[in-house]
């Protein structure tokens, strides 16, 4: 295969795992460096900006909590698009993408829940309430765990791909429920203050570190996701090579 044919010219070229691996090798160092840079700036802003007059120092928890919560939903959306890729276009990398995103999504959802608790205790006076927002995010966390368990339970990726894709799409109904839960129901969790049609309602002093941290978390997500996809492609290659070797060994013993 000549070096030239590995170039990615259109989106469908990504369907070739070898091309994807070549692209991943090229962009991962840059993506990781960019994420580190944004994290450095974000963390610096998080601890140098002023505290809130009501929340005090605890406002700094928001700079981790809000990006984690955004990512928990974005990751599931990436998985839902991948599930469509599996079912509609039969894109060979779609299942790899959905499968490798699940543990990352679960981690960020866990972070959103835990940091939310650490904010809730001093500010609301409770670690947890079963209001619509908290409950729906907890359900999202359970869905991630369920999908990870499903992927592990089925050895053959060709079989698990369609099942988990259907399950991911069914579970996607939870994402708008999470987003709009604070408007549809009377929740202890506050309504949206950044992603609003009429613009953010929080002070630039808090918005700046929040947005920088959000970019940092998003870059981290894509770095991890691409690296995890690369791992999954390698894993599948190892499996198929071992199968190939076993077949070969069988043939040799049969024909002396």
């Amino acid at each position: 295969m000549s070096e030239n044919s590995l170039a990615i010219r259109k989106f469908s070229d990504l369907a070739n795992p070898t091309r994807f691996l070549a692209l991943a090798d090229r962009i991962l160092p840059w993506l990781a460096a960019l994420a580190a840079l944004f994290f450095a700036a974000g963390l610096w802003l998080s601890f140098t900006t002023e505290g809130d007059y009501q929340q005090g120092e605890t406002v700094r928890i928001m700079y981790v909590h809000v990006p984690s919560a955004w990512l928990s939903m974005m990751c599931y959306t990436v998985m839902a698009i991948s599930a469509l890729g599996t079912l509609v276009w039969r894109h060979p990398l779609a299942d790899v993408s959905a499968k490798s995103a699940a543990p990352i999504g679960a981690s960020f959802t866990f972070l959103a829940l835990v940091t939310g608790s650490f904010w809730g205790k001093p500010m609301w006076g409770t670690w947890w309430v079963w209001d619509a927002r908290l409950t729906s995010v907890f359900v999202l966390f359970l869905m991630y765990l369920g999908l990870i368990a499903l992927n592990r339970a089925m050895e053959d990726p060709a079989r698990s791909a369609r099942v988990s894709a259907v399950l991911i799409l069914v579970g996607f109904v939870n994402i708008p429920i999470i987003k709009f839960s604070v408007e549809w129901w009377n929740t202890l969790h506050q309504p949206a203050s950044v992603m609003r049609l009429d613009g953010p309602t929080i002070d630039p002093e808090f918005l700046r570190p929040l947005l920088v941290m959000a970019v940092a978390f998003t870059l981290l997500f894509f770095t991890l996701h691409i690296a995890a996809m690369r791992n999954e492609i390698w894993r599948r290659r190892v499996t198929s090579l071992r199968r190939q070797a076993a077949r070969h060994a069988g043939r040799e013993t049969l024909a002396p």
């Binding site: 120092e57 605890t58 835990v114 205790k121 001093p122 995890a228 791992n231 390698w234 090579l241």
Partner: protein, 58 residues
């Protein structure tokens, strides 16, 4: 009753540990898979597509 700073530190600590674990898992998994691929290569087992350039071996 913990001070506010304790809650902030706890949040950032949990975040740091979670992200570190995630990065360690992805990097470790990648290294282990590459080791396996190198071992297979050393044993003379190659992907069919590496010999015949058309198509991706399943």
């Amino acid at each position: 009753m913990m001070s506010h700073a304790a809650y902030v530190i706890a949040s950032y600590a949990v975040a740091a540990v979670t992200v570190a674990a995630l990065v360690a898992w992805v990097v470790g998994d990648g290294r282990a898979r590459q080791r396996e691929l190198r071992a297979l290569e050393a044993a003379g087992i190659r992907r069919r597509s590496a010999e015949a350039p058309s198509g991706e071996g399943k």
